[in-house]
Symmetry: C2
Subunit: 304 residues, 2 copies
């Protein structure tokens, strides 16, 4: 079937491309390790062509999201400010210089929190628009990971979001702090994880809770093989407790959509259940970004 | 004047010794880089003698505190459980094998928090007993640092304490996380520090606040040269907000004593003022541990 659109999720580490046919059906997906960090300035056109050369016949347009639109990417697409619906996002899309195709790059989103600080995301906006239910009045959309994003969306618009450094905190504390010293192995421990979530729910002081990873280990209250899962529970527990507390009752009641790898969204689902959120559904990151690129291509007028 | 006691604060990195004469006056202080990590098993006796050989004439007893009493030290002195007064601490002191002097090693303190986790300290107990006012009904004693301790004390007893990983979090995040990438220089910035403290006071979600170090840098809302001070403000602000919130009104009203390096206790004093604590006094770490060793030597019956 004829290629109607080539979509690309071009992040720091990887480039994943989608070939869409009539009706937005994804006919093929390919992934390459040619992330933005691995591509030298001036090399983006060639890196894209290397992956999609045989899809170009017919002249389908290309829509890209992710770090490819950052200052270190192909061309910078400045952030769209929240609240933002799909037309507000596509209005900030930027045309990239390319000899063999019409290439558009989507912007990220920015927000200024009521208490002051800025926040940003790039790439997740496409997952969010791919996963949100445009008819729902309010819902929470969460992309767990290195830097988890909690977005509030409703009626097709992202009204705001917050970033939690959960995944990076876990990795840095495990590798470089005293907390990693007593840990043994990588296996998950469901009880220790749940204990961490419950303690984080009861005490908002994360920098105090963190030291308990060491003290519980010293007293053999938690086994060395379970300490990493306990730390994970503390960090994810702190995130979901804060994320739910910051949302309105209507937003929580509208349901929480988790986007990401199944193993990670499963953990977040357990933490959300302990924190009291029951209406939770899970979507893979690939499915969400695939749907989002098609929807945003429509908003940009690329689907003819 | 005759040496009545030799005191030693023997931590991970350094050994600091005090020569006391009549009435507890400190006649001399010496410091060596022979911390517990630098001394091989079996080498503690020689490391001590190298620093105090000329003080030994007259047979004064030796009292040591700190990591020298840990499993990695000279001999293990198990923790004394809170609530603990000076007799409860000295009851757990351990006699170290030594050919040239009578050597006692003090234990650390342990506590089990109401919500479950254990907590421990070692070395700070001596600073705390050195700084506390035994006649006051309640007071807070704080030792800022890599692992800050917040102790609640009253009528000569430490009723409990909490550890905040503030200093280690700062160091690890600056050196190993994305937050350090935009930072330039080590200079302090008072405005950025105060902004961080205020934001931490307003929002208990530390893992969300941390990402603002990056976002504020990306938007030039905070200069690269001020980002480290902003991160410091967020972390110290989160600590003092939680520490004051966990204390009773009577404990806060009883005053906060900060023990440590003047540059650090000055910062904590500023953060406490923003957080609303006004009765704050500051004591150097050396003065506090020096006073504590003399007091605890008295409780142990070493001052004859």
């Amino acid at each position: 079937m004829t290629t109607r659109l080539i979509g690309g999720d071009w992040g720091t580490s990887n480039l994943r491309v989608f070939r869409y046919v009539e009706g937005g059906e994804v006919a093929e997906v390919r992934t390459a390790p040619t992330g933005v960090m691995a591509v030298a300035a001036g090399g983006f056109e060639a890196a894209l062509k290397a992956l999609v050369a045989d899809w170009l016949e017919g002249g389908a347009p290309v829509l890209l999201c992710g770090m490819v639109g950052s200052r270190q990417g192909w061309i910078e697409a400045p952030y769209a400010a929240c609240p933002a619906d799909m037309p507000a996002v596509t209005a900030k899309a930027v045309r990239a210089p390319c000899d063999f195709a019409e290439v558009h790059i989507l912007p990220g989103l920015s927000v200024v929190h009521p208490d002051g600080p800025h926040d940003v995301l790039r790439g997740e906006e496409t997952q969010i628009f791919g996963a949100l239910d445009p008819d729902r009045r309010a819902q929470l959309i969460v992309t767990p990971g290195t830097h988890s994003k909690w977005a509030v969306a409703g009626e097709g618009r992202v009204s705001g979001f917050s970033t939690y450094m959960t995944g990076e905190l876990f990795a840095v504390l495990k590798a470089h702090s005293i907390l990693g010293r007593l840990m043994e192995g990588e296996a998950h421990d469901a009880d220790a994880f749940a204990l961490g979530v419950r303690r984080a729910k009861a005490d908002p002081a994360l920098s105090r809770l963190l030291f308990s990873v060491r003290a519980e280990g010293l007293f053999d209250a938690i086994a060395p093989t379970a300490l990493a899962a306990y730390l994970s529970g503390l960090l994810i527990g702190a995130e979901v407790t804060s994320g739910l507390a910051a949302a309105s009752a209507a937003e929580v009641a509208g349901g929480v959509t988790l986007i990401g790898e199944p193993a990670l969204t499963e953990l977040y689902g357990q933490a959300l259940a302990i924190a009291g959120a029951t209406d939770v559904n899970r979507v893979s990151g690939e499915a969400a970004v695939g749907a989002g690129l098609w929807r945003l291509a429509g908003a940009l007028g690329l689907i003819r």
